[in-house]
Symmetry: C2
């Protein structure tokens, strides 16, 4: 198999389902150990941006939130909430905030994940306590991570049911508009949305290639990647984008275009002051 | 079933596996929709703090990292790394940093999840570009969330294999010591650790109760919870802690003790300046 071209999708993946799945993820052969259907679900993740208008099966939101509730939470503080938005007009407004992402309008549901310190504030208010700890960067970070751990569990649950999902980080382009729309109280902000719906079977989406384990996995201590690893990932990303009929761009060019200037952050360079106004002073 | 006591564990859970699982999670009956084995794995999550010294099956790290690589990443920036630490001395030092958490010494592996903007910095350096975008709070948040989405996928994969896990947020008690120990470059910090090992079957851990969906799930717009919901969760948490032979503490008392003063943050009230020294100026 060594002389088979590596950039033609599934042609040189190895025989087992595990080998095939890791090849699809990395676009190169990689070692893999124990395997099961849950791990296969995780490895098969892809973002879906084309949805059928069909409603979700009854009880889907409750199942996804039960999965979210089951995620770890730092010190059991449970500093998150989720707003399930189905109303078409409200979804259209979220889509506009997110830079006109059409799939927010097409899919029947967007779950908006909220870093929620307002609940702790209410507990403090009821006890007559100032809750000084809520003002710190650590607590902001903890709440943001709690929200995303919960969201990721909901995503895994949804994909295990054959539903499509895509995270909408672009809600952070204007967190005040989202807070206003969803009537979030002070000390709460929307970290990201998660669109959920039935994927349109007419639009195929492939597994997006990721940096190889030699770049992201370090043993005992950190070591910088071999630059050739990044060039190989540029080629894998370029091949993926060509298959998906997207503009040709390598991965390192993406990183440069997003991060070389404040303008690349799509307005999010002001996030710190916006968070301050929403009740996260970030001391 | 309506007159059955609700706080005695599994005695009033309903008949289906799904109903039993949601009852265990919330300690009250709750609506639930579609169900499968992956969702059952998610609902069964519990933190494990008692481990056998046995090594992990061969290839486990690679499987867990393949799951981590498959998590969503904001704008495909892949701003995370993981350091797999097995060396007993290095694990002992991590345990000390985390306030002497014995399970870091007992289990064979801790995966340290790193918010990693140093890779983007290297790409910028190679291109002769300053990478101004790395200085912003948004980019710090994005990298932290990327790391935790990856970590959560690894956790789910590990639990699906019958392995035990527990997150170690206490690495943030001293991120500079962790960076020094793991030789992290500037613009990288350890967000959290994830202990992985074989659970000691002699020590039973139960599913920890969470706030009911009426408190965390909002429809269309946010609404504050009924205060009675918090009192019920105090009772559920108290019952859980009594069963686990832990000190009696309700949930709202936990929230108050952790967040009413800066001292409750276990030294993490200085995180902002520590992050500044590690290359995250948080503009």
């Amino acid at each position: 198999m060594a002389d088979t071209q590596r950039n033609l999708g599934d042609t040189s993946m190895g025989d087992s389902p595990a080998e095939k799945a890791v090849f699809r993820r990395y676009r190169e052969a990689a070692a893999v150990g124990p395997w099961n259907t849950t791990i296969a679900t995780l490895l098969a993740h892809r973002s879906v941006r084309a949805y059928l208008p069909a409603p979700l099966p009854e009880g889907t939101v409750e199942t996804l939130v039960a999965a979210a509730s089951s995620a770890p939470t730092s010190s059991n503080l449970q500093a998150w909430s989720v707003v399930a938005v189905t109303d078409p007009e409200r979804r259209a407004r979220l889509a506009a905030i997110a830079g006109n992402q059409r799939h927010i309008i097409d899919a029947p549901l967007i779950l908006v994940w909220v870093a929620d310190l307002s609940r702790a504030q209410r507990i403090g208010d009821a006890a007559g306590v100032r809750m000084e700890g809520l003002d710190y960067t650590e607590t902001f970070l903890l709440a943001s991570m709690d929200a995303m751990l919960a969201a990721q569990n909901a995503l895994v649950a949804a994909e295990s049911l054959g539903l499509g999902t895509v995270f909408i980080g672009a809600l952070r382009n204007d967190p005040e508009a989202v807070a206003d729309l969803l009537r979030l109280p002070p000390r709460a902000y929307a970290v990201a949305g998660l669109v959920v719906g039935l994927p349109d079977p007419a639009v195929q989406t492939a597994v997006k290639p990721r940096l190889p384990q030699s770049a992201v996995l370090h043993r005992e201590c950190y070591g910088a990647e071999d630059p050739e690893t990044l060039r190989a990932h540029d080629r894998a990303t370029g091949a993926f984008r060509a298959e998906q009929v997207l503009s040709r761009q390598g991965w390192t060019d993406l990183v440069l275009s997003r991060l070389q200037t404040a303008q690349g952050l799509s307005g999010r360079h002001v996030l710190k002051s916006v968070l301050g106004r929403l009740g996260f002073p970030l001391h």
